[in-house]
């Protein structure tokens, strides 16, 4: 097969498309939808992956989280999990004491929302975090103005608070200086001593709508830890990235001993690093990939069947043409490649449209929705290969049928 052959076939293909505009358009539409489906799936997954990677990154590097529960995306808890003991400040102290691999330990307790007032202004949404001074370092979150909590705040259970930007905006006027003012948290008076740097959001939830108070003060006002409103978490910062595994092993040893977990039984607490969070996510996306791939396969299949159908019709309609071509010397291979190229031209156009529409949709999603979507280079390759492949696979049978027609019978066809 020469380049001339291919060009001849492509020219013929376009002239056939022109001769049957509506029919070709419908077939192309089928392939376009198929390719578009593949691209949307890829785009969604890529977008989610990228967003998640950013989110994890924003938590700060190589932090280890110790929690009553294992990290999970499901809110359902088993009976065993519900009966677990709480972690304590003493646990956090033991962890800090017993491991060489650890730079800092910061336990914190969190309440999901609380009513906060200043003068006549009020907000119900802020998250209240009971923290220790190390929190700032372990989470890589720092004050923008004023100061963060210090040891003496913890020791004396002071009513002081560091507030996030959202809280500032909710309670104070533009020209007011929040530092030094007294705000009321659930009716108790706290003095504002600092304002946190802006931290953006994590999975759509603002992290600037937070109030940091001493952990001891928090426990004075909220003595009970009731899941899921309240959580107690110990954040551990290993010395280096290389220490993550050792630190996790040390923490596990310490906590199993302190909590009396029996040999052979699983941990009665959850411990995870950012890597572990990524693992959970990857499992989740693995399943999603599978489902999305199946959807794509079905969509492409439908497009492909359309192509096959149209090519079979085309072969029948053009039996005479095939006879003429064979009579003047076309081999089976030339006829076969002509019809295959025709099928690939059809699907190729479909793929191209799919790509263009996909790109537009991706841009629209980025512009008008919070979901990040983008089409990587390899998705463009996928679209090309997939649409071409559909053409070859579904064009093969019609092309073969055309190629093996008997010349004299084809010529007699009316």
């Amino acid at each position: 097969m020469t380049f001339d052959d291919i060009r001849e076939s492509a020219v013929m293909a376009f002239s056939t498309l022109r001769a049957n505009k509506l029919r070709s358009a419908l077939t192309i539409l089928g392939v376009t939808v198929g390719v578009l489906t593949v691209l949307s799936m890829v785009s969604i997954i890529q977008g989610l992956n990228r967003s998640f990677a950013d989110q994890i990154e924003s938590l700060g590097s190589n932090t280890i989280f110790v929690n009553k529960f294992e990290p999970s995306f499901s809110p359902q808890k088993t009976q065993e999990e519900l009966q677990r003991k709480e972690l304590t400040i003493a646990d956090a102290e033991a962890i800090a004491r017993e491991s060489e691999a650890i730079a800092a330990v910061a336990p914190f307790e969190r309440k999901l929302s609380e009513t906060v007032r200043f003068k006549d202004k009020q907000t119900e949404t802020p998250i209240i975090l009971g923290v220790v001074p190390e929190h700032s370092y372990t989470m890589s979150q720092f004050v923008a103005e004023g100061r963060f909590l210090i040891d003496v705040d913890i020791r004396e259970r002071r009513n002081v608070a560091v507030i996030g930007r959202d809280v500032v905006n909710a309670l104070f006027l533009e020209y007011e200086q929040p530092i030094g003012k007294d705000i009321k948290i659930a009716g108790n008076v706290f003095r504002v001593i600092g304002i946190m740097e802006d931290q953006g959001s994590f999975f759509g939830q603002s992290r600037d709508n937070s109030i940091y108070i001493p952990l001891t003060t928090f426990q004075k006002y909220y003595p009970e830890v009731v899941f899921p409103d309240f959580v107690f978490v110990i954040i551990v910062r290993p010395k280096t990235r290389a220490d993550v595994a050792n630190a996790m092993a040390d923490i596990t040893d310490t906590l199993r001993r302190r909590r009396g977990d029996r040999v052979g039984e699983p941990n009665s607490f959850g411990i995870s690093s950012q890597d572990a969070l990524l693992d959970v996510y990857n499992q989740l996306t693995g399943a999603t990939y599978l489902v999305l791939t199946a959807i794509s396969a079905v969509a492409l299949m439908i497009g492909g069947i359309g192509v096959m159908n149209i090519m079979l019709v085309s072969v029948t309609e053009r039996t005479k043409e095939i006879g003429i071509r064979k009579a003047v010397g076309a081999t089976r291979l030339s006829i076969m490649s002509q019809f295959l190229i025709e099928a690939v031209v059809l699907t190729g156009i479909g793929g191209l449209f799919g790509l263009i529409i996909g790109e537009i949709v991706s841009v629209l999603i980025n512009t008008y929705s919070p979901l990040p979507a983008f089409i990587p280079i390899w998705a463009i390759l996928v679209a090309i290969v997939v649409s071409g492949g559909v053409g070859v696979v579904f064009g093969l049978y019609p092309a073969w049928k055309a190629a093996r027609l008997d010349p004299i019978e084809a010529l007699r066809f009316e």
Binding site: T2, D4, D5, R7, E8, S15, A19, K320, E321, G323, I324, R325, K326, A327, V328, G329, A330, T331, R332, L333, S334, P407, I408, L411
Partner: protein, 244 residues
Amino acid sequence: MTTPHVQTDTQEISHPFSSLIKMRDIWKTYQMGTEELHALKKVSFDVTKGEYVAIIGPSGSGKSTLMNLIGCLDTPTKGEYWINGEQVADMTDDELARIRNKEIGFVFQTFNLLSRATALHNVELPLIYAGISSTDRHEKAIAALESVELGDRVTHKPNELSGGQRQRVAIARALVNQPSILLADEPTGALDTTTSSEIMNLFERLHAANNTIIVVTHEMEVAERAERIIMIRDGEIESDKKTR
């Protein structure tokens, strides 16, 4: 390459390879339900290089069937056929395609032009399958169209041409690849006397240039311009004689 091993005919030409076409006891049988229809019966003849042969016979006598066999478009039910000394029955599909492309120029009773393609593209078709580059192809096709006086109609599609012009496009297509044999099935059937005599003149010129020509016709005037007339009746050769 196969040497003919059947020595049946008494008029067997002494040189086995001097015949361009050699048919021995060819039968073509169609199965029509339970009945057998013999479109051709025990047909044997030879055509040498440069001969101008007319095949004549009543409608339905098997002329087109014979032409299709000679042109390697169809295969006989029985019998042996050598073209250029090669046994056709031994050839693969692709070899037959090559023979049709290089050795045979076929002018069909019903033209058989691609209706969506221009005259030029129709004439280029055999060259495409001969693997000739597009510039050479273009030149040769134009030259072939000019030789049948259609140089001013190259971009016309078949339905934009008269019957005689279509016939001439079909002839140009048959000649463009310089085949060893020109087969023409009723080339003047649909034409008026002026056009048909033009086409017969063209054939005579081709014959003078040492081309081998086989023409099917039912008109005696057309047949008599050939060197030799083969008469067919009911699928059998009735007579085979020289005109001069």
